[in-house]
């Protein structure tokens, strides 16, 4: 039995113009019928095997994409659908766009097109399944799913991203400290 007979897809819309999203949905309709491959469009990263992203990555959704990716259990593959997801497309030079999906998470299959046609989306997903199988086999041997480590590529706005992360971490730290203080006050109050 092959685990590639049941790839569940998590579809995320980055900053696309919705052209590619329409096509992704079109491929689940009776005309193209993704489900005959056992593919299901799920909403939950924890059940998904294939991460389908349309549209480029911007400041707002960068962390969301990274988090969804981190919540998908291994083995998993990422498919970038449409030219924007591949490298930013026409929005590439916008002030808020970081670029393609591969700026923030590793991408296995690129499906170009503006918008990508359902046939090519389905082919992309089916191709990704082979990679999924390879990753599973590597995992079974006790190796990490990827061959080489992946790091955030050299991004134009590295400084701004670091600032964003620092701000969130500082806020979290404040909350943690406040909770810790409450906890300690409670402990003090109950020290007989």
């Amino acid at each position: 039995m092959k685990m590639t007979k049941s790839p569940w897809v998590l579809h995320y819309d980055g900053s696309s113009c919705n052209g590619c999203d329409i096509e992704v949905l079109a491929s689940t309709t009776p005309r193209y019928d993704l489900e005959r491959f056992g593919i299901i469009n799920t909403g939950d990263p924890k059940h998904a095997d294939v991460f389908l992203i349309t549209g480029g990555i911007n400041f707002q959704n960068r962390m969301v994409v990274q988090q969804l990716y981190s919540q998908m259990p291994d083995p998993k593959v990422v498919v970038a659908v449409g030219i924007c997801a591949c490298d930013g497309g026409v929005f590439k030079d916008c002030y808020n766009i970081l670029g393609g999906v591969d700026k923030v998470i590793p991408v296995d299959i690129y499906v170009p097109g503006c918008a990508a046609r359902p046939e090519s989306i389905i082919e992309g997903v089916v191709k990704a399944l082979d990679i999924l199988k390879k990753k599973r086999d590597r995992m079974k041997q006790g190796l990490p799913p990827e061959e080489k480590g992946w790091a955030i590529a050299n991004i134009r706005d590295g400084k701004a991203l670091a600032a964003q992360e620092a701000r969130i971490n500082a806020q979290l730290k404040m909350e943690d400290e406040a909770r810790e203080a409450r906890y300690r006050a409670h402990e003090e109050a109950h020290k007989e």
Partner: protein
């Protein structure tokens, strides 16, 4: 001096001792010893009594000649009346005093005028008495042990209340003594005397901290119970003067002749019992009683006070079978079971929820008693035992959690399993004992269902099935709240008193043990009750392969956590990995915060679902009381009017 007199008098002696000891840090140790010692003595003596009765050595009736004790009883009644009158006028609630006069003076007149029937045994001991004594003695004893540590903590946290803890503990013991008296009495007049003591005691205990709210609620409890007392008084008058009967067992013997006058007595007694067991429309006093310190609520609502009402109902159950009174009682009980469980869904205060749940479960017991079949009486007795133990455990746990975290709101118990793991575990046992499958309450509910169907009461079956559904809804919510595992939280310092644990642990063990031993409880404790009550050999209610399957279920429930520990130590293959919970990808890194639309960190709060707009207390309590009150009034008019 037999064991009976000892059980009645000993708590009063202990109470006097505790009261005279006074307050303060110095006597704390002595007080602890006294309370623990007397509780253990009480427990030991009820067990001794139980063993003797079950072995057939001590049962039957006692104390035929009782002139001097009769004077004591009369004096006591007078004293209670004076007390209530004083408090009634002191707090400008004269109606309580008036109710007390109405309830007491005719009974005194009866005794003095010589109309009272005399010359029959005043005490009786049989298996039902023994079961109730076990419940009152053991559960009540544990509550008293718990109370010593609790009341100390209570005053530690509420420094603005006047310290009267000696008085408080004394009252608890007085309560126990009165309860024993009530259980042993066969004479209606004596029973009434002890009945009134419990009413007044509960009034004093509820008003313990003397806040305006407590005072109001305590008077609410007082007038409702005194109203029931008036019903009791009327029953005594009628029984003595018209029927020439002064004993419960005499009424039983008359049951076979089914005289119309008997039904009046039974109906009036049932009315008194309905007020005592806080059935809608009289549920207000029990809800209000939650302002009192926790041991009060535990003692009043799980083990003693409310059980007095259903005890009386079970006593007269064979007389009610198939009569209009039976229909009245079952209707009120079934309706209460359903309506109170709905209100419990919309309640977030832990103690108030427990109060609603008590009312609701009592409704079930009342309905079982009203049906009056052997099976339903079996179910009622089983329910009393299991409810007393599980509910007192829950009360004690909520009280301990409140002392620890400062809140008894269920919302604040989110993640208790991490914060207070031991307490959470015990609470899980308590909640499971209240409604989940292999545990006791459900077994009894099952028998109740069977008897309702057999007796052909369609309404009751419907009340039961819908009530069961809503019951599992509110308990499930609470259980879920406790079991939530929150990221980045840690165990709190456990400051629960060792004395509190000494009460909580045994009760938790008792809940589990009783589930395992329920076939024995059924055959050795409850089956003889049925045989005595119905004068025939009643076949076992739940038996055969069912017990095997039940025990299989129970062992599965117990083995799951154990297996979990074993398996988690030997895991191999693809290993698990920890991750944060799903929040549409905007989890801020821990499960407690998310990133809002400004990209800022925002704390997350998850509330339970209460449906206040649909079934909130404010919305449905009044209509429910109206409905129940009109059922009660209409039926009583029909029954009593028809009989006269």
């Amino acid at each position: 001096m037999g064991i009976i007199e000892f059980l009645i008098f000993f708590p009063f002696v202990a109470a006097a001792l505790l009261y005279l000891l006074g307050n303060g840090e110095k006597i704390y140790k002595a007080r602890k010893v006294i309370v623990k010692g007397s509780s253990l003595v009480i427990m030991a003596s009820v067990i001794y009594l139980a063993v003797r009765v079950l072995a057939g050595n001590e049962s039957g009736s006692f104390l035929t000649e009782a002139n001097i004790p009769n004077y004591f009883v009369m004096g006591g009644e007078l004293l209670l009346m004076v007390l209530v009158t004083y408090y009634g006028f002191h707090y400008h609630k004269a109606y309580a005093a008036v109710l007390s006069w109405i309830g007491t003076i005719p009974v005194l007149w009866l005794d003095i005028s010589g109309y009272a029937v005399e010359g029959l045994p005043h005490f009786r001991v049989d298996n039902l008495t023994v079961i109730m004594c076990l419940v009152v003695g053991i559960v009540g004893g544990f509550i008293c042990i718990y109370a010593v540590g609790y009341i100390k903590d209570y005053h530690h946290h509420h420094r603005n209340f006047p310290e009267r803890s000696n008085w408080f503990l004394a009252m608890l013991f007085v309560f126990l003594g009165a309860m024993f008296g009530l259980l042993f009495s066969d004479n209606l007049g004596w029973m009434y005397f002890f009945w009134e003591i419990t009413s007044v005691c509960s009034f004093l205990l509820i008003g313990y901290n003397k806040l305006p709210e407590s005072i109001n609620n305590s008077f609410k409890a007082l007038w409702m119970n005194l109203l029931g007392g008036c019903g009791f008084m009327a029953a005594i008058l009628y029984a003595n003067i018209r029927l020439g009967a002064c004993n419960l067992s005499q009424l039983h013997l008359m049951g076979s002749q089914s005289s119309p006058g008997l039904m009046i007595v039974v109906t009036l007694l049932a009315f008194a019992a309905l007020t005592k067991s806080a059935q809608i429309p009289f549920n207000g006093w029990l809800l209000g009683a939650m302002v009192a310190p926790t041991p009060t609520s535990a003692l009043l609502h799980s083990a003693t006070m409310v059980k007095a009402g259903v005890y009386l109902l079970i006593r007269i159950a064979p007389l009610m079978a198939g009569t209009m009174t039976g229909v009245m009682v079952t209707l009120i009980g079934g309706f209460t079971f359903f309506a109170a469980s709905l209100m419990a869904i919309a309640t977030s205060d832990g103690k108030r929820l427990l109060a609603h749940s008590t009312v609701s479960n009592l409704g079930l017991i009342v309905a079982c008693a009203g049906v009056g079949h052997p099976e339903s009486v079996w179910a009622a007795t089983m329910l009393i035992i299991f409810h007393a133990v599980s509910k007192s455990l829950m009360f004690l746990c909520v009280g301990a959690v409140e002392n620890e975290t400062g809140s008894r709101n269920i919302e604040d118990m989110h993640g208790l399993i991490v914060k207070m793991p031991r307490m959470a575990f015990v609470m899980i046992i308590g909640i499971c004992g209240m409604y989940l499958a292999p545990f006791g309450m459900l077994v009894a509910k099952w028998a109740a269902l069977k008897s309702y169907i057999d007796s052909g009461s369609v309404w009751l079956v419907l009340f039961l099935v819908f009530g069961t559904a809503s019951t599992s809804f509110y308990w499930g919510k609470w259980l879920g709240k406790i079991m939530a595992v929150i990221h980045k939280s840690q165990a709190l310092r456990d400051t629960t008193h060792i004395g509190e644990w000494e009460a909580i642990y045994p009760l938790a063990v008792l809940v589990v043990m009783m589930c395992m031993l329920f076939p024995f409880i059924s055959s050795y404790l409850i089956q003889p009750v049925l045989n005595q009550m119905f004068d025939t050999i009643v076949p076992p209610v739940i038996g055969g392969s069912d017990i095997g399957v039940m025990l299989l279920m129970l062992s599965l429930v117990i083995s799951i956590p154990i297996a979990g520990v074993v398996v988690s130590r030997h895991r191999s293959g693809i290993t698990d990995q920890n991750t944060r919970s799903y929040m549409s990808g905007i989890n801020a890194g821990d499960d407690r915060h998310f990133l809002n639309s400004y990209g800022d960190v925002q704390p997350l709060y998850m509330s339970n679902w209460y449906m206040i707009d649909l079934i909130g207390e404010l919305r449905i309590l009044k209509p429910c009381q109206m409905i129940a009150a009109s059922i009660l009034v209409i039926f009583m008019i029909i029954i009593i009017g028809g009989a006269i």
